[in-house]
Symmetry: D4
Subunit: 174 residues, 8 copies
């Protein structure tokens, strides 16, 4: 949400937003300037292509593209830029995201999409930050901090569980 976005986030439908939001939160946490776009690979293809071109021309570095069902958006975006494109499959409909996963990850030779897990918006955001961290030492350093925090969170939860189990045991429940 700034002049000179480094990350562009495009989603095929605004119904994807509640999932995508977590990627945005990651970018905000790392203070990475970004922009958000709703645009479709089918319904507004030319608009999507224009946006990609302008984004790249203005110095954008990474694109996150989210879509569900026969998810063509990430691949179509990847076909029209030389920037790295992160594909985020959205679970939607009867196939629960397997369709989106296959339609995003199984790209033909020459046009890669960096795919993350179904609905894994947080990882999409982190991957964008990792890509940007090359040559941006503060970001690299922030990523190291983040990993330490993740580890500490696991340790805290481990402790909390042990405490809970001990109390239970003490209370004679076990």
């Amino acid at each position: 949400m700034s002049e000179m976005s480094l990350v562009g986030i495009v989603m095929g439908s605004d119904s994807d937003y509640p999932v995508v939001e977590e990627a945005i939160r990651v970018l905000q946490k790392f203070k990475v300037p970004y922009e958000v776009k709703v645009s479709s690979a089918h319904r507004t293809l030319e608009r999507t292509l224009s946006w990609v071109k302008v984004f790249e021309a203005q110095g954008g570095q990474v694109i996150i593209a989210a879509a569900g069902l026969a998810a063509h958006l990430p691949g179509v975006v990847a076909g029209s830029t030389s920037l790295p494109v992160i594909g985020l499959p959205i679970a939607s409909g009867a196939l629960a995201g397997v369709d989106a996963l296959y339609a995003i990850v199984q790209m033909p030779p020459g046009v890669p999409v960096a795919t993350v897990g179904i609905g894994a918006a947080r990882n999409a955001g982190l991957l964008a930050v990792q890509i940007l961290a090359a040559g941006r030492e503060p970001l690299r350093s922030a990523l190291r901090t983040y990993r330490r925090e993740l580890a500490e969170e696991v340790e805290r939860k481990d402790l909390a569980l042990l405490t809970k189990l001990s109390e239970k045991a003490a209370a004679g429940e076990s």
Copy 2:
């Protein structure tokens, strides 16, 4: 292969041709003028879109789009025309065409692709003919003949099998 093609066949890679060929044979059998194009949804997107526009402007009526893996071609074509688009999933790679099937059939609301079975090029051609047959009585009539021939072929094979089994029985094998 003529002025004023009614059916346009586009495939993402020339390696799809051996499968697609059977669709062409159907169109030839029904004397439907057609044209063939190799063009990609990712590597030559703009060229694909131009071809669709010209094809439609010159009176084309149905498009058959074939692709494998994360098969975006049929959907991207469908997004750029109001003609009916027949999607033909090609088996290729580790997922044996399930990826292509899902990427073609699970289109989002508003942009249908008329999907046939994995590798079912003959059916893609026939579906095109069925669509064209509206208001073209000779085609409709040829389709009826074709169905009769299909039925007769089944009957011939039934008879052939019975004969073979009878001979086997007579020869004391059963």
Copy 3:
């Protein structure tokens, strides 16, 4: 619901109606005369076949056939007509529509079914309209308008999301 239906919609069970309804709404929007039938490939096969014959004889042009589970209705209808048949898989039971998708799309050579996504009734309706639009310029033109509306809807939603995000940002949330 008129003399001289162009589209016939047949479903295997009235429990499919809530899904199928969206196809009907599309036909109504495009003012395409249609008729609706509940008839089964197994329980009322002969009645189904009669209906197909009468529908075709009276000038029907496209059939939409919806079914769930081992969905045989679209294929059986396709086997008894030379009209294009659109197959609409309904999600139902433990396999969530994958059974219906496979049972509809994987037709043997000679008998195509134009399959749309699982539960994709809107696309079934639109595909019928696209097929009818050949030689019906007003329909073709309405389809173009429809596509424009779809695009505008995406643009509206894009704008709405941007506005929401800006307000959030202004409110100091980001």
Copy 4:
């Protein structure tokens, strides 16, 4: 292959015959009179239905229906008779028989198909014999003999393997 067949075997295509043959061998072994038919649920539906009617009227008791891909034949036959219908899915095409399995076993309520494994023609034949064995004591008794033979075959193979392993061990290979 006789007057008064008890078992009718119908397959959608003569290309299914090499698989189906094993079912026939079982019927021959148990001296159960049978007949064989190539007929399709789509290409020769009325002929299929006629055959079912005649077969039932002439005292037929069980039907084995084999088909691949979107395998509708068993279900369509089951919908037109009150005889038990055994469905035999044939592996064919990119989905390797999963499509046929789902299209055969997931029948809607009211129209069962007794499904055996993909390509499991021997089991289809045995199931037919088991069904016929009610009230036919010699068949029941032959089935018991057959099961004993199966058991003895396992025991023989067990012994053969042990012998082979012992010899290997004696030869100092292990």
Copy 5:
């Protein structure tokens, strides 16, 4: 629930009963004497085998075996009798019945299980009746009546839907 049951219904767990119940209702409707057993292929194998032996010795004719997860009960029962065994896969746990379907239908050569759809208890019951109908003319006749009723039910629902749609149309909704 009578002396001389013709159908034995065995389930691996009493939690399967709510599904299995529909099979029982079919047997009651056709006045087929049956008995019900909860017994496991793993936890009470010998008891299961004893029950099968007694059931067969007392003139039982068909067994319905229902189980979920790694559903071994139908196969184990089939291995210990020459009666036809109907396998009913129960949806349960993360794989939603696909595990049970595969574990029931994919039996090795020599030991068939007549498999119906996941949770398709009504079809399991009907298949048992169809098997019993050989040589029991009243049952055969009741099955024909049942099929007529099924057809009439479809026709009634067709009429009801048409009426509803007409009223809606008259009310100006369409």
Copy 6:
């Protein structure tokens, strides 16, 4: 192949032997006494159960049970012993071992089977050794050696690849 086997290997069919053989080689390498049995969960159930009982009574400690298709053998064995049972799914038939995997791993509560990968006979053997190593210090120590050898093999292969690549580079191929 000795008095007092610690590991019993049972397979449903002698056609499983070429896969199972690798488990045997592991046991030989670790000098663990074992015995091999061909016996079926369906065709020779009682014989299977007897073998399990005798094996356990004679001091057997771990059972490896291998089977393909609807693989009931591991579960049935597990239901009749309190020894740990290792299940080895064999790829066979159209579903390529997924059926066997599900039929082995998805056991109901109370009757675990320690499942290894499809066709992973070496891992089945190693798991048996790991289980036996409790209280058998030489085995534990041999396992540690084995793990070191595995690591060294990886390192050797790493070196070999580097050497090959360097030579290629030196030869001007890169």
Copy 7:
């Protein structure tokens, strides 16, 4: 929860605890000393490895490792110990545990994981007890009792269902 745990339970996230709890209850029932750890294969890998080393050094005998999604924890633990490792796949996210099952069971040669069903925590616990029972006669004996109890529970449920059905019948409901 004691000095000298025999079983170590490690889970990738404390959100797995509600599933894992059932394994703990089994260990408590069999009075097997255990310890519980929350530690990740990715976020706290070194801590996980340290815990494994300490656990093994202090006489631990079996490890249960639970994880969801791309479940690497069981395999990573198995790679760093020669103790038997039981893998417990947790259902989580769009793929409902199939991802975890494949990521746990399909281990490469040399590093087995003893996999139980998706969410099958009770079986994970029981398998640990079975492994420990070698050379611990009281455990072996408790397992035999447990199996008897399981059998009796099935029998009780069988009786309860029969009673319920009889009462229903007596009440004229059938």
Copy 8:
């Protein structure tokens, strides 16, 4: 193969090399310095972790990790670095790479792996180049050239097919 590799390629087994080779060719084409490592997530975990650390410390920027089966290598590498990690699933064994795909792409929150298609080594290489191209204008420019070449290749193949078809037609074959 140089001082100061920018890309590190690690594979779980040297049997993955024939697939991985295509990624290397891409890096060579773009003159990106790289290094290759065979190291396992299970058999040589500590060595893998050391390599990652050294690679990162010496200025490495992107890691490509290839593995088959329960493919833990990419995730374990991703857990021990803040560099972007590209995961390349290798088809191997009965599940044909679906296991590897799920085990790589479905990473838990916090530890992304940029996954490409099954066996899509060329795309893995290209994605690495795209990531490196940020701030390396010659690489960016080479990528643009590469995309143009891809497009031209499609156009050449289109022309070649048209020519072939025309000649066939001229030769009277059509």
